[in-house]
Symmetry: C2
Subunit: 250 residues, 2 copies
Amino acid sequence: MKILLKLAYVGTAYCGWQAQNNGNTVQQRLTDAAHRLFGFECDVTGCSRTDSGVHANGFCATVSKRGELGLETSVPTDRIPRAINCFLPDDIAVVSAEWVDDGFHARYDVKSKEYVYKIFTRQERDPFLAERAWHHPKQLDVKAMNAAAQYFVGLHDFSAFMAQGSKIVDTRRTVFSAEVSSRGDTVEFRVSADGFLYNMVRIMTGTLVEVGEGKISPDELPNIISSCNRSSAGITAPACGLYLDRVFYK
Amino acid sequence: MKILLKLAYVGTAYCGWQAQNNGNTVQQRLTDAAHRLFGFECDVTGCSRTDSGVHANGFCATVSKRGELGLETSVPTDRIPRAINCFLPDDIAVVSAEWVDDGFHARYDVKSKEYVYKIFTRQERDPFLAERAWHHPKQLDVKAMNAAAQYFVGLHDFSAFMAQGSKIVDTRRTVFSAEVSSRGDTVEFRVSADGFLYNMVRIMTGTLVEVGEGKISPDELPNIISSCNRSSAGITAPACGLYLDRVFYK
């Protein structure tokens, strides 16, 4: 058996999830914390890579003994989150832990992932949202953005919404839901899919913001999608507004 | 005429509002920003001192030319917030500006101030609330806390809720409203008064948390207040959960 952890992190200080030789990453911090808690070296596998500066409310990762499929510990399961949090910095926290089979894979067994993108539209910035939302100080037509977002739903080739230079062969993904809503000066785009291409949510968001500004009509979305041409879509929204919100497993 | 600014700040990085010889303060940052915007040195007067690490959603401060009662500028009033924000760090933002008479005083003309104190009660900490709420991982009886808070309302000698060593002569204050509520795992204490003694909201909060834990009965509050004895009240809650929310002028 291995341990499946759900964690939240403020991504601002990190070069994303994935461990790198030169870089402060969430995976590295969690690997170190697991080592300190369990007393042996661990392998930590995440549900996804996240970009530098991207946040998570419900990132999932498994922990097993290095080179093995599972691990054994005397720490009671319900104590694991608080115990491991003692070894994590303030901007990363494990919120729950459960046991899963040796054969479980944190990335390959994902059924769907849900991201939220936050845009703050007030003229004056909000210091509490610095690096936690995209400050885009213009009124946005949320109704038009939501209408446009509906065209994302379904099975499509999303290569128009993939960063150039990506080497993925199959660029088709199924979007299960997409919704744009607002509360006060904050506009939120929430999207779930069976998988996402590199920068897909950020390019979707950049495109929807151009819809909200009246630069693109919602009805143009089907053509933008079917063009399979990155330059037809909008800009790549900044990383700081993006949150990996929830992960669902098979 | 002088300018009255409303500002929000994340207090974590600051030794409070008040300028000091050795310390990074919000007043110093705002004074520097005003100098850079207007091109002449300025006097900046705040509505209140805030402690190190305390936050603000609606702090008020006036700006006048150094040594004078007012100032003159060609910057249109509605442009002042965005313009001054260009010279402020990310964790401080001016959200509005208006002109007030030369005789207006940001501190002496305050009619009432409203503070909010945030407590996060989930077992596992929330990285997005690090230094932005008091992490107190115990269930609290919010109804009992709210019942206790009602005893604060009215004109009382609050010396039991003042940090020891304060040299204030008149320790009576009028509390206009006090309310404890919860949403999810966050408990909020909101209190407005004509003025606050040193650490008053933080000691009120520490006392209410002991009520929420069942250590103090709500009905003991009148005796704690009338004791005028700091040691009768609860602990001083940490600075990081406190927000100066709103200021009302005569």
